[in-house]
């Protein structure tokens, strides 16, 4: 987001944000305690995970698989829950 280092004197009046759409730079991925892991062999590329993702952070890659953007993915597990083939499992995040 780039605002982490701002002091109170740096803010616009009324905390107005002058850069349109800068919410997209806000990292929500660090809220995550579990990450979705996909088993490609059994995935039928139906895209239901893409449809259900409440964060809209899943996108289709060049091979047609649906990949979660971990910059935004909060680890809610809805994709794993909805997957008709149960190819997505939630794996605990470990400290790096």
């Amino acid at each position: 987001m780039g605002g982490e280092g701002l002091g109170w004197k740096d803010l616009e009046i009324g905390f107005v944000v002058t850069e349109p759409g800068n919410a997209s730079s806000y990292k929500t991925g660090d809220w995550r305690s579990e990450r979705p892991i996909r088993e490609n062999e059994r995935c039928i590329k139906c895209g239901l995970c893409y449809i259900y993702c409440p964060e809209a952070c899943i996108h289709e890659d060049e091979e047609g698989y649906f990949e979660a953007d971990l910059y935004y993915c909060k680890g809610c597990g809805i994709c794993a829950h909805e997957c008709p083939r149960s190819v997505i499992s939630m794996v605990e995040e470990k400290e790096e």
């Binding site: 009046i13 009324g14 905390f15 107005v16 806000y26």
Partner: protein, 399 residues
């Protein structure tokens, strides 16, 4: 230097005239006793074409303030008013324009809070609004209701201020009473409140985000910025009141005094009962008691400097509260003690509560407070606990 014409006007109509002369663009308000006449009059003015404004008939006070926030964010000059329970329902939204630095102007016709249901005046509603970061001031009569509403626009919209501003008028005492007052020339008022431009407005050609999400890494910085900016409004408020005084001949300041020459004791009041207190001071002075009156005109931001100056010569300050901070005493008295702590250790401060739920405060009761406060000082000096007395409350217990 009386300019304009002398008219007899109800306090509510005086406020409505001030809003009309300020040429407000958007009015969003919900009627509630004792504020209703203000809304009714403004609605008539808009319907009759006397005021070119959008009048939004909202379904609640919560919506009234929400509409004001939106309109003000679009750069409009807005107005709303409420009282008592209405201000409570509006409460959540009151913090928004101040945090977003939108110059909304509002008038509160002060009213007690339920239960039991009371439509009559006291300052319980005011005290619930202490921390909303609005500039807040008290009028004592209808002239001041007009003048301060006019000044509220200049103050709120000043580029060095940009905070919402609220004028408190005591419900019924001012809102429903007809008094003679000077109504200035419209051109002069228009000259005093020129069009203003907010540095940020909702504009598709220059998009900005307002009222954003503030995660822990930035929220404290936004509040610090707000607090500093709010503190810094004090000199500007006085400057604008001075300019008003030069043009219109009526002068205002954050702390105003009456017969304070040589006073060792002073009463302290806010709002319409200050005029009753003046009569009490007259009578006490005639009886040879060195008493004066201090009136808090500006309630927020709190006028620390002016208050300390006003009490410099005093031995005893007698504070009237028209509200109870349950479990704490009189809220104004608590704040004054806090403002003067470590500054005047020899000054005794004694608080009384009176005028709850529209119970009249008589001249004799102000005189009683002055006499009784001196007795309480003796008790304090003997090391006794002194309770905050509610004047004139019946004890009963004989049933």
């Amino acid at each position: 230097m009386t300019k304009g014409k002398i008219v007899g006007l109800e306090g509510s109509f005086a406020v409505a005239e001030a809003v009309r002369m300020a040429n407000a663009d958007v009015i969003a308000a919900y009627p509630i006793t004792p504020q209703t006449h203000i809304v009714e009059r403004l609605s008539e003015m808009v319907a009759d074409g006397d005021l070119d404004a959008d009048f939004i008939c909202v379904e609640s006070e919560h919506s009234a303030m929400s509409a004001c926030v939106g309109a003000s964010a679009a750069g409009a000059r807005v107005f709303t008013c409420s009282a008592g329970q209405g201000l409570e329902l509006m409460h959540e939204v009151l913090y928004i324009p101040s945090s977003m630095r939108l110059p909304v102007v509002a008038v509160a016709a002060n009213r007690a809070l339920s239960a039991p249901l009371s439509v009559w005046c006291d300052h319980s509603d005011v005290m619930a609004l202490r921390d909303i970061s609005w500039i807040q001031m008290f009028a004592e009569n209808n002239q001041q209701a007009f003048d301060l509403t006019t000044c509220a626009y200049r103050i709120a919209e000043d580029k060095d201020v940009l905070f919402p501003t609220m004028v408190h008028i005591d419900g019924f005492y001012l809102s429903h009473v007809i008094e003679d007052m000077v109504l200035p020339e419209e051109e002069e008022v228009a000259g005093f409140i020129p069009d203003y431009e907010h540095p940020f407005v909702l504009d598709p050609d220059k998009p900005v985000s307002m009222g954003c999400y503030g995660p822990p890494f930035i929220y404290p910085e936004t509040k610090k910025a707000q607090d500093v900016a709010f503190d810094n409004t004090r000199p500007k408020i006085q400057e604008i009141w001075d300019e008003f005084g030069e043009i219109f001949g009526r002068h205002y300041s954050p702390v105003e005094s009456y017969k304070m020459d040589g006073a060792r004791i002073a009463l302290l009041t806010m709002g319409s009962c200050s005029e009753t207190a003046m009569l009490a001071v007259d009578e006490l002075r005639e009886a040879g008691i060195d008493v004066g009156l201090i009136r808090l005109r500006l309630w927020r931001p709190f006028p620390f400097k002016e208050l300390r100056e006003a009490v410099k010569q005093l031995d005893l300050l007698v504070v009237l509260d028209r509200a109870i901070s349950f479990g704490m005493g009189g809220p104004v008295c608590s704040e004054l003690k806090s403002a003067l702590y470590n500054k005047r250790e020899d000054l005794k401060i004694v608080g009384f509560i009176a005028g709850l739920g529209g119970r009249d405060i008589q001249i004799s009761e102000f005189k009683y407070m002055v006499t009784q406060a001196q007795e309480k000082v003796k008790a304090i000096e003997r090391g006794e606990e002194v309770e905050t007395e509610i004047i004139g409350v019946r004890e009963g217990g004989g049933r």
